[in-house]
Amino acid sequence: MTQPSPMIEVTNLDKYYGTFHALKNIDLTVHQGEKVVICGPSGSGKSTLIRCFNGLEWHNSGRLVIDGIEVYKDAKEIRELRQEVGMVFQQFNLFPHLTVLENLMIGPMKVRKITKTQAEETARNYLDRVHIPEQADKYPAQLSGGQQQRVAIARSLCMETRIMLFDEPTSALDPEMINEVLDVMVELADTGMTMVVVTHEMGFARKVADTMVFMEAGQIVEISPPEQFFTNPSSERCRLFLNQILEH
């Protein structure tokens, strides 16, 4: 890492759902411009962890500092933080009653309070970036899954985010649409965006990741650079997992 200013600092983080220990003693640092890919079996706490990063879930103990803002339940700064931290969901979660363009404009207009003309300009600009400028006036239901997910990425980018979180962005897609979304994410990575991606797309991970994280049962089992992660992981459990998902 040449630029060591940390964007996300997680120290000793624990989270419980009732008595269920969902995240156990998590330590993780993500620097500016770094791409982190988190993988692991389902139920291992990957999604929960990144949902903590923009306050969709709250940790119970430990420290979480994002871009210099300490995150905790009911923190006043949380809405400002969310404007800086974009989130792309597995189920896209586009606003079905708004057109693609309106989906992109509503955040900047209502939250950042910028003018309509300016919001539209930004929106069209980002629609170009995700390669679907011609879909601007359609409703989300009229688009394919891959297109919807690219709109969702553009919607986050329109907020001029500094960190992008991806929660299994391609898991709900038909196989032939996965690549169009991954391509957009690779292009985004090339712009120097800080990204934390929960995914099982190992091809994407190899191409983009600076750091690989393997989680199991609420714990981070392995953090290593991709060269080491894919060829010589230090933990047996991680090796088994990789065998399983890389086999076919």
Binding site: L56, R82, Q83, M87, P96, V111, Y139, S156
Partner: protein, 280 residues
């Protein structure tokens, strides 16, 4: 008739449904049966009225709809009453929706006190008969707070229907997937902005059918304010009857007027629903 359309080969026709199904399923037979039943009911009431020596005077009814006098055309009591009923219903409905939204949001707020207040209100209102509620507002709260019978009627109808409306609103809000909340949160929207721009516009689709039912219900229950002599359709009907003794004709007419209004409303809303469905 379980035809999955898989096992059957080309050219094979479906087995004929049994005779009774074909017979009762045909349009002609259905219409005929309908006409016979309606005819029997009409004939039954006619004969019954005849039996008690009722003197039908339908020719006297139109004057209560409209009159052509020396000074020109004028509406009769029934249309004037109808307008009063609609006005009463619209005001009550708007107020009921406002109260209902407040109660629904309280209940959804997640605050213990908010939920307690909302549930207390709902249980209280739902378990008091409408007529008793009207008497409470008119004879008890009216004198205490100094409002007249018209205000008492509006408050009664609004409060009574706000309970059901709040449940409709709550169900509509809950029908919007949680992903929508998360997406709105993740772009930094406040709860107010989320409701205003994301949740409520989507809930309308879920709320429209039960809300129509509730408006129809409200128009019908507005007739109860005639017991405290507030000027509206049913009150005017009672007044006409006490002048003319034509109870059968007038009550039939009043019932028909309510029916026409609520039918027009239902048809209008089902048109709206279709329009909304296309827009999505």
């Amino acid at each position: 008739m379980t035809d999955l359309g898989i096992s059957r080969g080309k050219g094979q026709s479906l087995p004929k449904p049994p005779f009774y199904k074909r017979f009762f399923g045909s349009v002609f037979v259905s219409v005929a049966i309908y006409a016979i039943i309606v005819g029997l009911i009409a004939y039954g009431s006619y004969v019954g009225a005849q039996g008690m020596g009722y003197n039908w005077q339908w020719y006297r009814v139109p004057q209560f709809l409209y009159r052509n006098t020396e000074i020109g055309f004028e509406w009769g009591e029934i249309p004037i009453g109808l307008v009063a009923t609609i006005k009463l219903s619209v005001i009550s409905f708007l107020l009921a929706t406002a109260i209902g939204l407040l109660v629904a949001l309280l209940r959804l707020s997640g605050l213990v006190i908010g939920t307690a207040v909302a549930v207390g209100f709902l249980e209280l209102i739902r378990n008091i008969p409408l007529l008793v509620l009207l008497y409470l507002f008119y004879y008890v709260l009216g004198p205490i707070f100094g409002f007249d019978r018209y205000t008492a009627s509006i408050l009664t109808l609004a409060v009574f229907h706000s309970a059901l409306i709040s449940e409709i609103l709550r169900a509509g809000i809950n029908a919007v997937p949680t992903g929508q909340w998360e997406a709105a949160k993740s772009i930094g929207m406040t709860p107010y902005q989320t409701y205003r721009y994301i949740i409520l516009p989507q809930s309308v689709r879920f709320m429209l059918p039960p809300m129509t039912g509730e408006v129809v219900h409200l128009i019908k229950s507005s007739a109860i304010v005639s017991v405290i002599a507030v000027a509206e359709l049913t009150t005017f009907g009672r007044n006409i009857i006490s002048d003319t003794y034509m109870s059968f004709e007038i009550w039939f007419t009043i019932a028909l007027v309510y029916l026409v209004v609520t039918l027009i409303l239902s048809i209008g809303v089902s048109y709206l629903e279709k329009k909304y469905a296309v827009d999505q």
